[in-house]
C-alpha cells in the first residue's frame, strides 16, 4: 500500500505522531507540549484540506477509499475501510478546524497536567475523524466507542466542581446507547451479508419488522449522542463541567456523531423504517427545539444556557434529516457545521470570560461591552449567527431545513415546519436575552471594570470561525455543492424503498 496515495490514513492517524512526541516530553515543558499539539492539529487540518482538494464533489460515492482486510471472524470479513463522501467531508473539515482552535484556547486555561490534556485531546481527534471516515460497521463502532475514553478523562480531570458526576453520566448514557447499537451491528453483519457499509447499502434487503427493531437499536445510540429530547439530560451537565476546549469539541463535533450516524446508518440501511418513523422522530426534534428553548431562557449559568441552545439547534437538524427532502437534508448537514461553528465560538467566548472572572453566572456580568468592546462586538456576531440572522451561517441552514420540511412528503403536513419556526423566534429571544444580560446595560459589578479586552491570541482563535460564519452566510452554494450529490443519492435509496412500501 502506497502511503502517499492514502490521505485518509494520514488525516486519521497523524495526531498519533503528536501523541508520540508529547509522550517523550517532560511534563514541565508546557510550552513545548502545547506547541507540539497545536502544530500537529494544524498539520491535520492541512491534511484535511488536501483531502478536500482531491475530493470530487460531483461524485456521490465514497472516495479516496482505503480498504484493507483486517481479519475474519467466523466467516465475516472485518475490514479497515475508510472513505469520504459528501455526507462526511464537511464534518471532517469541521473536526480538523475546531481541534487546533480548541487547543489554542487552552493556552492559559489549562495550566495543570498539560501533557495529559494534550495527549487525550489528540487521541480524541483520532477517534472523531475515524468516526466520520469509517465505512466498516465494526471499525465505526471502535472509533465511536473509543471517543468516550479521552472525553471521559478530559471532563473528569480538567472539569469543574461536579466533574466526576458529569463525566460518569456522560460515559454511561452514551454507552447505554452504543451497546444496543453493537447488538444491531452484530445482527446486521451476521444476517445480512457482512459489516461493510458500501456493499450493505446496495444488497441488504431487510424485512420491515426487522428494520423497525434495528432502526430503534441504532437510533437510540445516535439519539442519545445528538441528544434528542427526552434523552438529553447528560448534555447540560457534561457541558457545564467540561473545560472550555472540551465543550467546544463536545458541542462542535461530538454531537454531530449522532446526527451523522442517522444519516450514515439509519437512512440508507433501514429506509422503510425511516419513512415510517420519520414523522415521530421529527416530532421529537420539534419538542426538543421548543422545550430546550424555554429551558434555556430560564438558565442563570451562561454555559448551561448555551448547552440547552445546542439541544434546540440539533432539534432542527433532526427535523431536517427526517423531512427526507433534498433541501432539508442539505440544510441539516450544513446546520451541523453551522452549529459547530457558532456554538463552538460561544463556548470559546464564555471560556475567555471565565478566565477573567472565574464564574459562569450571568448575574456576575452586565455591561461588559463597555469594558471589552472587541469581545462584545465579536460575541454579538456569534450570537446573531446562532440565532439565525440572515446573511450569517445559521440562517442558511435553518431556512433550508424549514423550507424542505414545509413541503416534505415524508412528514405529510406543513405543521411540522410551522411549529418549528416558533423555535427560530424563541432562539432569538433567549440568545439576545443572554447577550443583553452579559454585555449590555451599565456595569453592575466593580470587579468587572478592570477586565482586559481580548488578547491577540484570543482574536486569532476566533477569526477563522468568524470568516466561515460570513462565508457560509453569504455564499452557501460553495458548501452545498459539496453535499448535494451525496444527499441526492441517499434520498433516492430511501424513496425507492418507500415505493416498495406502498
Amino acid at each position: 500500500m502506497n502511503l502517499g496515495s492514502t490521505p485518509l490514513i494520514w488525516v486519521t492517524f497523524f495526531p498519533l505522531a503528536g501523541v508520540l512526541i508529547i509522550l517523550f516530553l517532560k511534563p514541565e515543558w508546557k510550552k513545548a507540549i502545547r506547541w507540539t499539539a497545536l502544530i500537529t492539529s494544524l498539520a491535520v487540518f492541512g491534511l484535511s484540506v488536501w483531502v478536500l482538494a482531491l475530493f470530487n464533489a460531483a461524485n456521490p460515492d465514497a472516495q479516496l477509499g482505503v480498504n484493507q482486510a483486517w481479519f475474519t471472524l467466523g466467516g465475516n470479513q472485518i475490514s479497515f475501510h475508510l472513505g469520504v463522501d459528501g455526507l462526511s467531508i464537511l464534518l471532517l473539515l469541521l473536526t480538523t478546524l475546531l481541534s487546533p482552535i480548541a487547543i489554542l484556547s487552552t493556552w492559559k486555561a489549562i495550566e495543570e497536567k498539560v501533557k495529559g490534556f494534550m495527549i487525550f485531546f489528540l487521541l480524541l481527534e483520532v477517534g472523531l475523524v475515524g468516526v466520520f471516515l469509517a465505512l466498516d460497521m465494526v471499525l465505526f463502532y471502535i472509533f465511536w466507542e473509543f471517543t468516550l475514553v479521552p472525553m471521559y478523562f478530559l471532563i473528569g480531570l480538567w472539569g469543574a466542581e461536579r466533574r466526576i458526576y458529569a463525566t460518569l453520566k456522560f460515559f454511561l448514557y452514551t454507552m447505554a446507547g452504543s451497546l444496543l447499537m453493537l447488538a444491531g451491528i452484530l445482527f446486521v453483519g451476521l444476517k445480512y451479508g457482512g459489516f461493510d457499509l458500501t456493499t450493505l447499502t446496495s444488497t441488504a434487503n431487510i424485512p420491515l419488522t426487522v428494520q423497525m427493531w434495528l432502526f430503534v437499536a441504532f437510533g437510540l445510540a445516535f439519539a442519545i449522542k445528538v441528544p434528542v429530547w427526552p434523552l438529553h439530560s447528560w448534555l447540560p451537565d457534561a457541558h457545564t463541567e467540561a473545560p472550555t476546549a472540551g465543550s467546544v469539541i463536545l458541542a462542535g463535533v461530538l454531537l454531530k456523531m449522532g446526527t451523522y450516524g442517522f444519516l450514515r446508518f439509519n437512512l440508507p440501511l433501514f429506509p422503510q423504517a425511516t419513512i415510517q418513523a420519520a414523522p415521530y422522530v421529527a416530532a421529537l426534534g420539534i419538542v426538543g427545539i421548543l422545550y430546550a428553548a424555554m429551558v434555556a431562557y430560564r438558565q442563570q449559568d451562561v454555559k448551561r444556557l448555551v448547552a440547552y441552545s445546542s439541544i434546540a439547534h440539533l432539534g432542527f437538524v433532526m427535523l431536517g434529516l427526517f423531512a427526507l427532502d433534498q433541501l432539508s437534508v442539505e440544510g441539516a448537514i450544513l446546520q451541523m457545521v453551522n452549529h459547530g461553528l457558532s456554538t463552538g465560538a460561544l463556548f470559546l467566548i464564555i471560556g475567555f470570560i471565565y478566565e477573567r472572572r472565574h464564574t459562569h453566572q450571568m448575574d456576575a456580568f452586565g455591561g461588559l461591552w463597555k469594558v471589552m468592546p472587541v469581545m462584545g462586538s465579536l460575541a454579538l456576531v456569534v450570537t446573531l449567527s446562532s440565532a439565525g440572522l440572515p446573511g450569517l451561517n445559521g440562517f442558511v441552514g435553518e431556512f433550508n431545513i424549514l423550507v424542505g420540511a414545509f413541503g416534505s412528503k415524508a412528514l405529510g403536513s406543513p405543521w411540522f415546519a410551522g411549529v418549528a419556526t416558533l423555535g427560530v423566534i424563541l432562539a432569538a429571544v433567549y440568545l439576545l436575552h443572554m447577550f443583553q444580560r452579559v454585555f449590555l446595560g451599565p456595569v453592575t459589578h466593580e470587579e468587572n471594570l478592570k477586565l482586559k479586552d481580548m488578547s491577540l491570541r484570543e482574536i486569532i482563535v476566533l477569526v477563522p470561525i468568524l470568516i466561515l460564519i460570513f462565508w457560509i452566510g453569504i455564499a452557501p452554494q460553495t458548501f452545498l455543492n459539496l453535499i448535494a450529490p451525496a444527499v441526492e443519492k441517499l434520498l433516492s435509496v430511501v424513496s425507492a424503498a418507500g415505493l416498495a412500501l406502498v
Binding site: 483486517w70 481479519f71 475474519t72 471472524l73 467466523g74 465494526v138 463502532y141 471502535i142 472509533f143 466507542e145 473509543f146 468516550l148 475514553v149 471521559y152 478523562f153 473528569g156 480531570l157 466533574r163 466526576i164 460518569l168 460515559f171 454511561l172 454507552m175 447505554a176 451497546l179 444496543l180 453493537l182 447488538a183 452484530l186 445482527f187 451476521l190
Partner: protein, 484 residues
C-alpha cells in the same frame, strides 16, 4: 501404561514429577533464599510449556481413549502454564512481605496446574473428576496459607466445605450418567444413550446426571445460583492466590463444562440449553448488579469474576446447534485468554496493596494512585477498560466474539440482556479509575518488581493484541478444529 501413553501426557507427568523434586530440594534451601524455589518452579513451568507447544500439531488419544491431546487441550494448557508463571511472579514479593515464604506454596501451585491440565486432556468423566480434585485440593490449602490470619482460615474452610460438596455433586452426576449409558467415556455416552433410552428409566437418569454435573461444575466456576461462596473466599484468601484461582480454576471449570457439553450432551435428549440460558442470564445480572454495591476491591473483582462467568456461559448456550459450535468454543477460549491477561493485571496491583487481614484493598485505598504512580494507574485503567469491553483493548474483542456467538445462535434476547449488564459493569469498573485519578489520597503501595512486570505486560498485551486480534482468533479456532 505403555510408552506412547506416557509421551502423550508428558508435560503433565513432567510437572508432577518436578513438583515432587522441588518439594524435596526446598528442604535444603535456607529461609532467606526461597527465590531459588520460585525460580525452579518457573523453570518447570517453562519446560512444560515448551513441551505443550510441541504437542500442538500432533493430536492423539491415549490411555484407551480416556485422554485426548488436541488443540483444545494445547490452547488451555498453554494458558494454565503461562498463568502459573504469572502466578509465581505476583506471589514472590508478597510472600516475602507477609512472611509466608514457604516452599510448598509453589509446589501446591504446580499440583493445582497439573489438575487443570488433566481436565483439559479429559475424554472421560472419571478423568474430569480426578482433574477437578487435583486442581481443587491444593487450592484449598493455598487459600489458607496465611494461617495466622483469621480471614485466610475462614476462606480456606469455606472453600473446602463448599468445594467438596460440589465435588460430590459432580461424582453423583457421573454415577447417574453411567447408569444411563453404561460408560463414563464422553464420546461413548453419545452413542450409548440413544440405545439406553429404549430401556425404561434411562431418560430421567440422563437428565439427573446432566443436572448434577452442571450444578457441580457450576459451583466450581461460580455461576448464579451456585456462587455464594466466591466473594468470601476471594476476599479472605491471600491476593496472589485469589488472582491465580480467578484464572486457572475458572478456566479449568469451563474446560470441564465444554468437554461435557460439546461431546457428551449434544444429543437432543440431553439438551440442557434452556437451563444454561437461564443460568447465564441470572449470572450476568446478579454478578454485575451486586458488584456495584461493593466497597472492597477484592469483593468487587469476585463479583466481576462471577459476571464474567455469565458472559462465558452465554457463548456456550447455543452449544447444541452444530452451525455455531465452532464459534461457541473458540469465542469462549478467546475470552478466557483475554480474561486471564486482564485478571492477572488487576490482581497483581492488589497484591501490592494488601496489608494482611484483608486490609488495604478497599476502594479508598487506591485513591490518588494516579498521582503517585501514574504508569501503574494507567495500566490498571487499561485492565478496567478491558473488563468493561471498551474498544482497543482485547476485552472488547472478547465480548464482541461472545455476543456475536450468542446472536449467531439465535439468542438475541440473551445478547441484548448481556450487553445491558455490561453497561452496569462500566459503572463499577470506572469507579476504580475515578478513585485513582480523580480523588486525592495517599495510597500505600509496596512496590514489587515482578508484580509490576505482570501488570505492564498485561496492559501492553491487552492493547497491542487488540490491533491484531486475528492471531488469537486463529489459535482459538484451531483449538476447536481438533476438539472432536
Amino acid at each position: 501404561m505403555i510408552l506412547s501413553d506416557a509421551l502423550a501426557i508428558l508435560p503433565l507427568i513432567l510437572l508432577i514429577v518436578w513438583a515432587m523434586i522441588v518439594l524435596l530440594i526446598d528442604l535444603w534451601i535456607p529461609k532467606g533464599r526461597k527465590g531459588i524455589t520460585a525460580l525452579l518452579t518457573v523453570i518447570g513451568l517453562a519446560v512444560a510449556l515448551v513441551l505443550t507447544v510441541m504437542q500442538a500439531n500432533s493430536p492423539t488419544s491415549a490411555f484407551s481413549g480416556m485422554i485426548k491431546v488436541d488443540g483444545f487441550s494445547v490452547f488451555l494448557n498453554i494458558l494454565y502454564l503461562a498463568s502459573g508463571i504469572a502466578g509465581v511472579a505476583i506471589s514472590f514479593d508478597y510472600l516475602n512481605r507477609m512472611d509466608l515464604q514457604h516452599g510448598e506454596y509453589y509446589v501446591l501451585m504446580l499440583f493445582s496446574i497439573a489438575g487443570a491440565m488433566l481436565i483439559s486432556y479429559a475424554a472421560d468423566l472419571i478423568i474430569i473428576f480426578l482433574g477437578i480434585e487435583l486442581l481443587s485440593i491444593p487450592l484449598y490449602v493455598l487459600a489458607g496459607i496465611a494461617r495466622s490470619q483469621g480471614s485466610s482460615e475462614e476462606s480456606s474452610l469455606k472453600y473446602f466445605l463448599l468445594g467438596t460438596f460440589a465435588s460430590a455433586f459432580i461424582l453423583f452426576g457421573i454415577a447417574w450418567l453411567y447408569g444411563a449409558g453404561g460408560t463414563t467415556n464422553l464420546a461413548g455416552l453419545v452413542t450409548a444413550i440413544p440405545d439406553g433410552l429404549n430401556s425404561a428409566g434411562a431418560l430421567p437418569m440422563l437428565l439427573a446426571g446432566a443436572g448434577f454435573l452442571v450444578a457441580g461444575i457450576g459451583f466450581k466456576v461460580a455461576v448464579v445460583p451456585f456462587h455464594a461462596w466466591m466473594p468470601d473466599v476471594y476476599q479472605g484468601a491471600p491476593a496472589p492466590v485469589t488472582g491465580f484461582m480467578s484464572v486457572v480454576a475458572k478456566a479449568a471449570g469451563f474446560a470441564a463444562l465444554m468437554r461435557v457439553l460439546f461431546i457428551a450432551l449434544t444429543t437432543e435428549t440431553g439438551d440442557v440449553t434452556p437451563v444454561l440460558a437461564a443460568i447465564a442470564l441470572l449470572t450476568m445480572i446478579v454478578g454485575n448488579v451486586v458488584a456495584i454495591a461493593q466497597s472492597n476491591l477484592k469483593r468487587m473483582l469476585a463479583y466481576s469474576s462471577i459476571a464474567n462467568a455469565g458472559y462465558l456461559l452465554m457463548a456456550l448456550v447455543p452449544y447444541s446447534n452444530p452451525a455455531v459450535q465452532a464459534d461457541s468454543v473458540a469465542s469462549a477460549l478467546f475470552y478466557l485468554a483475554a480474561y486471564a491477561l486482564t485478571s492477572f493485571g488487576a490482581w497483581a496491583v492488589i497484591t501490592m496493596m494488601e496489608k494482611g487481614e484483608i486490609q488495604g484493598s478497599e476502594f479508598s485505598d487506591i485513591a490518588g494512585l494516579g498521582k503517585k504512580n501514574p504508569l501503574l494507574a494507567a495500566a490498571l485503567s487499561v485492565m478496567m477498560l478491558s473488563f468493561t469491553g471498551v474498544p482497543l483493548t482485547l476485552g472488547f474483542w472478547g465480548k464482541f466474539y461472545l455476543f456475536r456467538t450468542a446472536i449467531e445462535g439465535g439468542f438475541i434476547w440473551l445478547a441484548v440482556a448481556g450487553l445491558l449488564t455490561t453497561l452496569v459493569s462500566a459503572y463499577y469498573y470506572l469507579r476504580v479509575v475515578v478513585m485513582m485519578f480523580f480523588r486525592d489520597g495517599d495510597p500505600d503501595l509496596k512496590y514489587s518488581f515482578w508484580a509490576s512486570t505482570v501488570v505492564f505486560f498485561g496492559a501492553l498485551g491487552l492493547v497491542v493484541l487488540a490491533f491484531f486480534p486475528d492471531m488469537m482468533f486463529g489459535l482459538a479456532t484451531k483449538a476447536v478444529l481438533l476438539l472432536k
